[in-house]
């Protein structure tokens, strides 16, 4: 195939040209900056080769916020296009690419990494561990995600983005209707990132099962860590289904196979089934850690232990299990017949039972508590009424025959944004504010935080409430525009206003991050919120080995109990022992780069490049296997120095 520069680079679109130029300048600026400030070594030793879960967590969150910006811009572009009837701000094809990348990015490259970031940062600290079970694998997970994110994101400037919707239904997503690299980006980038996610699931299951501080029984684990167990169980069982679905898609598109084609026996409906067998559990993969975050925040700022610990654990495990039994509700209208539709209606509605139990338990936690409305608490408290509405519309959608009218309309769009934003995004923002002082040693400004919250929540409701009505009026999702005589204009105008308010809130958050870095209230206690769990027992900044002295855990909310009894984790000179820590390594990053090479080759069907990348990956894995890396020991002197930093006063010591 003759190489054509003007199809390789996306041309003909002024906005994309603008993006290409800014990205080029941005890349140049970064290179220049790093060189000028002589920070290349720092970048390599501190970040690219790190296996420290805290740093990996920070990198995940940074990427997630960047992706939130990208996905948010996609959203605003769509909302502009839909504000008035018959606008031509975006042409159909560009619009199709934008809603596809918006959905894929928000779920897989924003929500997942944001949560993975918080999980990485917090879980080992919460369970009193010094690291995750497999630090090198953890680094691999991050860099594979990073490469998958990178590969997916360059699509709009090189080759063209996927454009068949984030659900990629066949046969539209097949080469009969959409040839070219677009959908290939989706199949390959998600495959690469998915490997990272599976590895994270395994990593955290083993970490939480096997690396808890002495004395911490399973039923003493903080609720956020329990939510990570539930999430990881779903990951292990669901991501392989996506792996296969994407592989089959790749075979169809690249090698002429007939899994989902219109001819030669292919079955497009098979894709829908496989995709949603993964897809529905996926939304619980993101929502369960979100629930865990809310449990931590609500109990901390109600000054009261979480109500119904046992039920909260059971309900999450129930949700994890039941999430596998609902997938066909995504296609009630595909003609499965009344028996199948009835079964899935019931199984879908049934998930609201354990979810409802959780909501009641959160309310009972706040009951008779002493609630302080800090920014994290605002996000958690705001979640409850908003999620109730979103969840209620989910129950309504679960009723199959009613869904025959709701399906694929804006009613559906409103529902899933309601639950995903109120559930997951609120948790990400709340968790960010909550654990920010642990990450960076300063608190995000409260006033700016409150402005962010209120503007975002109000904007969010203004944006999505009208969409329920638009759906009932007959507006379907993925429409590029609409006729003026349909009477949909007013509601669309309102929705756009709401979307821009959310954008404003995001900008305030970004400003908050910048402002607080320079002028924010510093926290040196390590426990600015009077927290209840062990992550707050560490000093700030957290030493790379986390705990010099491991606690002997006696129950739930161990740190709260310790403070009440005047105990602390201050270590004495005699107690200091060497601590074994893993070595940094560049292999995770380099292997991931080879994944990029292989992936890029597959996207453009340049098989020589794919094979080269594959060889690189194999070599990297082999070298790692042959490597004798026993880690290193943190010396007693270093620990004494870190711990005794301010012997005799409150600051900087493990408490």
């Amino acid at each position: 195939m003759k190489f054509q520069w003007d199809t390789f680079f996306v041309t003909g679109e002024p906005m994309i040209l603008g993006a290409q130029i800014s990205l080029l300048f941005g890349a140049i600026a970064m290179v220049v900056g790093l060189t000028y400030f002589k920070k290349w070594k720092w970048l390599w030793t501190e970040w690219i080769t790190t296996v420290d879960h805290k740093k990996i967590g920070t990198m995940y969150i940074l990427c997630a916020v960047l992706m939130l910006f990208r996905g948010g811009v996609d959203a605003l572009l769509m909302r502009i296009q839909l504000t008035l009837p018959n606008l031509h701000f975006l042409d159909e094809h560009h619009y199709d690419e934008i809603f596809t990348t918006h959905g894929t990015i928000m779920i897989l490259f924003m929500a997942m990494p944001f949560l993975m970031g918080l999980i990485n940062l917090v879980v080992p600290l919460q369970i009193g561990a010094r690291d995750v079970a497999f630090p090198y694998l953890n680094a691999i997970s991050f860099w594979l995600f990073f490469i998958g994110m990178g590969l997916f994101n360059i699509s709009f400037i090189i080759g063209g983005s996927p454009d068949a919707g984030w659900t990629m239904y066949f046969p539209l997503a097949g080469t009969e209707f959409t040839p070219g690299p677009g959908q290939n980006y989706y199949a390959i980038a998600l495959q690469i990132a998915g490997i990272g996610t599976l590895a994270t699931g395994i990593n955290f299951l083993v970490t939480i099962f096997k690396m808890r501080a002495p004395g911490m029984k399973l039923m003493d684990i903080p609720m956020f860590s329990w939510s990570v167990i539930a999430m990881s169980l779903i990951i292990v069982a669901a991501f392989p289904v996506l792996t296969i679905a994407l592989a089959l898609m790749t075979f169809d598109r690249l090698f002429g196979a007939h899994f989902f084609t219109m001819a030669s026996g292919g079955m497009p409906m098979l894709w829908s089934n496989l995709f949603w067998i993964w897809g529905h559990p996926e939304v619980y993969i993101v929502v369960l850690p979100a629930f865990g975050i809310f449990s931590e925040i609500i109990s901390t700022f109600s000054r009261k232990r979480l109500f119904g610990y046992g039920s909260m654990v059971l309900s999450m495990l129930a949700i994890a299990l039941m999430s596998y039994l609902t997938w066909a509700h995504h296609f009630f209208t595909m003609g499965a017949g009344p028996a199948v539709n009835s079964f899935f209606s019931i199984s879908t509605m049934a998930i609201s039972i354990p979810t409802g139990i959780k909501i009641f338990n959160w309310l009972a936690t706040m009951y008779k508590g002493k609630i302080s409305f800090t920014t994290p608490m605002l996000w958690a408290v705001g979640f409850i009424p908003n999620f109730i509405v979103g969840g209620a519309t989910g129950v309504l959608l679960a009723m199959a025959s009613a869904d025959y009218q709701y399906h694929n309309s804006y009613y559906l769009v409103a529902h899933f944004h309601h639950v995903l934003i109120a559930g997951v995004v609120f948790a990400c923002f709340g968790g960010l504010h909550f654990w920010y002082p642990k990450m960076f040693g300063h608190i995000l400004n409260e006033t700016l935080g409150k402005w962010t919250f209120w503007i975002f929540v109000i904007g969010f409701n203004i944006c999505f409430y009208p969409m329920y009505f638009l759906g009932l009026k007959g507006m379907t999702r993925r429409m590029v525009t609409y006729q003026a005589d349909l009477g949909w204009t007013g509601l669309n105008e309102v929705a756009t206003v709401g979307a821009f308010l959310m954008g404003v809130a995001f900008l305030i958050l970004c400003y908050n991050i910048y402002y607080s870095a320079r002028k924010g209230e510093r926290d040196t206690t390590g426990d600015p919120w009077d927290g209840r769990t062990l992550e707050w027992a560490t000093s700030t900044p957290v030493p790379h080995y986390n705990f010099a002295k491991l606690p002997n855990v006696q129950g739930v909310d161990e740190w709260a109990r310790m403070k009440k009894n005047g105990e602390n984790l201050k270590i004495t000179e005699e107690e200091v022992k060497e601590i074994h820590m893993p070595n940094n390594t560049g292999k995770a990053f380099i292997i991931s780069c080879f994944f990029f090479v292989a992936g890029f080759g597959l996207v453009f069907e340049w098989y020589w490049m794919a094979i080269l990348g594959g060889i690189g990956i194999a070599c990297g894995l082999l070298l790692r296997s042959l490597e004798k890396d026993e880690g290193y020991h943190v010396s007693v002197e270093e620990i004494k120095r870190t711990e005794g930093l301010s012997r005799g006063d409150e600051h900087g010591t493990n408490k």
Partner: protein, 200 residues
């Protein structure tokens, strides 16, 4: 967390190794989900032959039986290798593992010959949904076997160089788990693809 328990088999003695083995079991759980999806896909597409080759027309019982014999025997020899590992006999460990890998290579040789034969007949991955799913399902298993052989060779090299240590014992144990797992998958393949296809 360096709790070393000398009463356990060598590969279970250190905490890190115990965690690695647990992680591998969980990974095998994920592999079960993976192969289940492939099997489900195959069973859905099994009869969609586009009027071309069907299972009955293609599969040959004697060859399949031979492949099964080779792979199942290799699982046994793998077990023997572990048995020797437990008795600290590196030489026998390596020897029996090499037999295992040889049998595995024999299995692969036959499978590649089978695929090439089908392709020569005109039954390719592009012919029909049935053939696409057949090749991808059995091919994925075959690719796992291939990867396993390469992986095992690198581990055997490490045993040769470093002897049987907690680390090499753990690595050998894990590749053993992997190999047995692939054997179980083959049993399902044999039954649900070949036997079902030839008889059903």
């Amino acid at each position: 967390m360096e709790q070393t328990n000398k009463e356990l088999p060598l590969e279970y003695q250190t905490h890190q190794d115990r965690m690695t083995i647990l992680a591998f079991w969980i990974f095998l759980g994920a592999e079960i989900a993976l192969f289940s999806t492939l099997f489900a896909t195959y069973l859905v597409l099994e009869h969609r032959t586009a009027g071309m080759f069907s299972a009955k027309q293609l599969f040959e019982a004697p060859k399949v039986m031979m492949m099964t014999f080779l792979l199942l025997t290799s699982s046994f020899t793998c077990g023997v290798a572990i048995w020797y590992m437990r008795r600290n006999n590196a030489k026998q460990l390596i020897g029996w593992m090499l037999v295992t890998l040889l049998l595995g290579a024999g299995f692969l040789y036959m499978e590649i010959a089978e695929f090439t034969h089908y392709v020569h007949e005109g039954a390719t991955i592009q012919t029909s949904a049935f053939l696409s799913s057949f090749f991808v399902l059995t091919g994925t298993h075959g690719a796992h076997v291939t990867l396993g052989i390469c992986w095992a060779l690198s581990i055997l090299y490490q045993v040769m160089k470093n002897g049987i240590t907690t680390t090499t014992a753990r690595k050998v144990f894990i590749i053993g788990l992997y190999w047995h797992f692939l054997d179980v998958v083959w049993i399902f393949l044999f039954t649900l693809v070949y036997v079902k296809g030839m008889v059903g």
